[in-house]
Amino acid sequence: MEQFDAVIIGSGYGGAIPAARLAEAGMRVLLLERGQRWTTSDLMQSDDPRYIAKVIDLVVTRAGVAFRTGSMVGGASVPMDGAHFRAPQKSFDVRAGDGRPYWPEGLSRNALDPYYERVERMLRVRQFAWSEIPKAGGLFAKMLDAAGASCDRARLNYTDCKHCGFCAQGCVFDKKMSMLHTYLPLAELHGAEIRPGCLVDHVEPERTGYVVRYTRAGSPVEVWGQRVFIAGGGVHTPALLLRSKRYLPHLSSRVGEEFNNNGEHGFIGILPPEFDDLSRYSCFMGSENSAMMSFHFFESNGFTLHPGGGLEPSILAASLAATDDPLVPKRAWGLEYKRFVEAVYPHRLIAFSTLGLADGHRAITIDSAGAPNVTERDRTSYDAYLDRVDALLADVSTKSGVKLLPVVPRKLSGTTSAHLLSACRMADAPERGVVDANGHVFGHENLYVCDASAVPYALGVNPALTISAVAERTAERVVERG
């Protein structure tokens, strides 16, 4: 059996970063990735569902919930919109029902700042200038300004974005500093091996490390790692731990619980004709994240507003909620609906999501075949969060004149979220979470979780930078331990 100092499962932010740092420190590192290794020339500017299904791994569960994760070497850092924010201190202060903070002691904005800075340098994260803000972002800001609210320019990991609008497909212009351009080459430079097409079934302890059993091209393979990092993302990591449960007797019973979609709930805004010279606005022009972010409601109500951009017509295939507004037809189909679409696309549409400090309302479980599944949990608190959002956005709508419609009905909120947090969350003790503040799985020496699932609670901002900063910190601790 091949032996490594570290076997890392998953090559997104959570896997690529420790791979680079451990390899740099002289360790023999193997990085296993389920997806294939793509190059920029494989990427396309395409809305074809068949292409999208290749780039984005759509985890569709028996419970009828679909999650988006990365499905290639580089993970979700490749098909994403580039937003990289530090989590505000308020996100670290949120307390659970028992009155104790979700984040373990010692982790705060200040404590993570050096790691945030390290990642920002690697990914070349920067705030965009107003001259780089597409009109979709400008009109979103204008809507908030009309309602007396603030709106800031976002921070993104693009060098010089061309604003083609195809970010979630992977950047065909090589402008996004994903793992493919940063940590993965660094890992390889220091001798790490990246092995794509490897589907890990489970891990089990052997001597002071773990055997990782996986299939590649249909054949079973096993490797041994002195240390194992599970970084398969917010859905696959808890599923892998649950499949490994019988070999990991001390595993916390919290695996899969607390799953959190970061309070993500989408809206479409329909601009009134007098809002601006809308004949000179086209919603498809610009990056998919139209490079703005509103923190206006964050201090008071714990949510941000994060606009979309580069809007293709299929944004209108979403089910618009019923409204009394005469502009929106009662039925979202038929001739009347067709006239509505013609009236609003492409000059009168904006889109945005809330991201917020909201409780989760689902748990990740596995089915009898070991595939990820979802179990609905109590959603009273999540619904109360959506009530707050609705009330405040109704006010924005009244003051700005922009008609705001939820993209999906409430019961489906978060079902295609890309922010898949907390299912193996960090905590101070195993009865409250799965890993400690250093990402170390409670009760199982040398086993780590290092991805979105370790983030202990919703952040209210895009989580990529925090996942990365925590990964830098986890890797640093492991290197220090030797």
Binding site: D48, L58, W130, C164, R331, V461
Partner: protein, 211 residues
């Protein structure tokens, strides 16, 4: 395989069990999210294909790539109701059938194909209930609208089929041209209408990070 009997509640009205409904939703979510929109929609359950005449449903000029079977004709008639095509739209703008949306329902690269039978079954049931036992493809377009409207009450899985038809419609290149969406491009950064280029709102952070 699910029997017709399982699909009927005690009252005789068409009803899908909760589990089947979730199956529908899963398929729906898949197709929907794959199109990079938010979800909903569905379809499920393979039902035996029945024979029918080979004439086009009333009001349609083609089947939009669907097979010339009863299910194919039903799905095409359904898509034409969701987004009416040039034959029924006075503006002449393309509809779901014109852009080939029905074919997506039968595309085995996507997960909807095996669920087409249920959609056709539910549509036929709605038509039979309200239009003297006729099948959905055989009634007039206005009657189909009414049948679909009635069938869509009470959280019907057909809601999700409507979304699938819309996803298929909006993914069509002919729709891009009709709505003025250019698709692939070299980037708009240099376009004269790309940006306002000035501050559009008050900012509260120093550098885009909230403290």
């Amino acid at each position: 395989m699910h029997s017709m009997r399982r699909l009927r509640s005690r009252t005789g009205k068409i009803q899908v069990s909760r589990r089947e409904f979730f199956d529908l939703l899963a398929v729906a979510s898949a197709a929907f999210a794959a199109a990079r929109c938010d979800p909903s929609m569905g379809v499920a359950v393979t039902l035996p294909e029945s024979e029918g005449g080979d004439e086009l449903p009333v009001g349609l000029e083609s089947l939009g790539g669907a097979p010339n079977t009863h299910q194919g004709r039903t799905i095409a008639a359904f898509c034409d109701v969701v987004v009416p095509g040039k034959k029924r739209d006075p503006s002449g703008a393309p509809g779901a059938v014109d852009v080939g949306a029905p074919a997506i329902f039968f595309d085995h690269a996507l997960p909807a194909a095996e669920y087409v039978g249920l959609v056709a079954f539910l549509l036929d049931a709605a038509a039979k209930d309200h239009f003297d036992g006729q099948r959905f493809a055989d009634i007039k377009p206005e009657e189909r609208e009414e049948a679909l409207n009635l069938a869509l009450k009470d959280d019907s899985p057909l809601e999700f089929a409507v979304q699938l038809a819309k996803v298929a419609f909006f993914s069509g290149e002919k729709v891009f041209a009709y709505l003025g969406y250019p698709g692939p491009n070299d980037g708009y950064i240099a376009h004269p209408d790309f940006t306002f280029g000035v501050a559009m709102a008050r900012e509260i952070t120093k550098d885009g990070n909230y403290p």
